[in-house]
């Protein structure tokens, strides 16, 4: 990649990213939010986490080449759910997930 291509991509992506990160907060900050909007904002965490998980685990056609190798992420995810509910620890969840995924790939 040339320096020129790099600068265009870097500057444009950094600017759109900054806008997405900062503008909504500053447009809403300091205003009395209507009840409905407040309630909707409260649903963002469960919806966003579920969307992030689904984005990593689900894809159309994921079982096209058979059940087993494709089921490995789901099996590892179940191990993570158990550990997450038991420990409530992000660190243990991450370690469990990576270990379970790696072990299942070896089988």
């Amino acid at each position: 990649m040339s320096w020129q291509e790099f600068w265009i991509i870097f500057v444009c992506c950094a600017l759109t990213m900054l806008a997405c990160r900062v503008l909504p907060l500053f447009l809403l900050k300091g205003k009395e939010l209507p009840d409905g909007l407040n309630r909707a904002l409260g649903f963002i965490p469960p919806a966003a986490f579920a969307a992030l998980v689904a984005n990593d685990l689900l894809a159309p056609g994921m079982f096209a080449e058979g059940l087993w190798p494709a089921a490995i992420p789901f099996a590892a995810a179940i191990c993570v759910v158990v550990v997450a509910l038991k420990t409530k620890s992000l660190l243990w969840s991450a370690l469990t997930g990576v270990a379970a995924f790696a072990l299942l790939l070896l089988i």
Binding site: I9, C12, V53, D56, P60, L90, V98
Partner: protein, 237 residues
């Protein structure tokens, strides 16, 4: 504010994210090296653009010989999900200075959004700690990326395994949400939304689309349940 105790709080909250960023930051740096980006360029991207998903997309799309314009458009579209995180922090930033709110908001990622959201809900958290969490994580991300460029292809990390650390973090954040019926509606609808978006070819904005579907479904659900006078089913925090 930025006291010793707060710095310690932030650092211990940042550890899982920092380790995850080492695991995927090094492969990200290696990938960037493979398209001829140097350490300075990768550092600039990591420090000022600071997006895991985006920094993997740029070299991957470049390798697939996409045009500069389509790289910018696709990466920007993927990052629109950050708008939701930004909006959801409005109540937490109510009483903090504009400068603090700006630097905090400007350094939020998927993972640090999750950690701060969880901590704010538990109560022992503040925007200054959230900013330090972001900065610790960003430092880990930037250094790991630079290390990746410097070692180049001398090291190979299986990316599918390393990136499962992030998936695991998201799973933990999801299942430790309050499991009210409205929240469960939000989760199920969001997952369906992501799948449908991908099915329709909207892979880039799938996370944003899914999350919006989830919020809308939970909102409608709580409005209906609230109206029929059912007891507190829609009560979220």
């Amino acid at each position: 504010m930025f006291t010793r105790a707060h710095i310690k709080d932030s650092f211990s909250a940042a550890i899982p994210v920092m380790l995850g960023y080492v695991a995927i930051g090094i492969p990200c740096g290696i990938l960037c090296d493979s398209i001829g980006l140097n350490a300075l360029q990768v550092f600039l991207l990591s420090a000022l653009f600071y997006s895991g998903a985006g920094q993997f997309m740029i070299p991957n799309m470049y390798l697939a010989s996409s045009s500069v314009a389509s790289i910018v458009a696709s990466v920007s579209l993927v990052n629109t999900r950050q708008m939701l995180y930004s909006a959801s922090f409005v109540p937490n930033c109510k009483n903090v200075s504009k400068r603090l709110a700006f630097f905090f908001a400007a350094t939020v990622t998927d993972e640090t959004y999750g950690v701060s959201t969880q901590r704010f809900a538990e109560g022992d958290w503040s925007v200054d700690r959230a900013l330090m969490l972001n900065l610790f994580s960003q430092t880990s991300w930037a250094l790991s990326n630079v290390v990746g460029v410097l070692v180049g292809s001398a090291l190979s990390i299986p990316l599918n395994i390393a990136s499962f650390a992030m998936t695991s973090i998201f799973i933990c954040l999801m299942v430790t949400q309050k499991l009210t019926s409205a929240n469960i509606v939000a989760m199920v609808a969001a997952m369906l939304g992501v799948y449908l978006a991908k099915l329709l070819g909207l892979t880039g904005p799938a996370i944003l689309v899914g999350a919006l579907v989830g919020v809308a479904a939970a909102f409608a659900f709580s409005a209906i349940v609230g109206k029929s006078g059912s007891k507190g089913g829609a009560k979220e925090r």
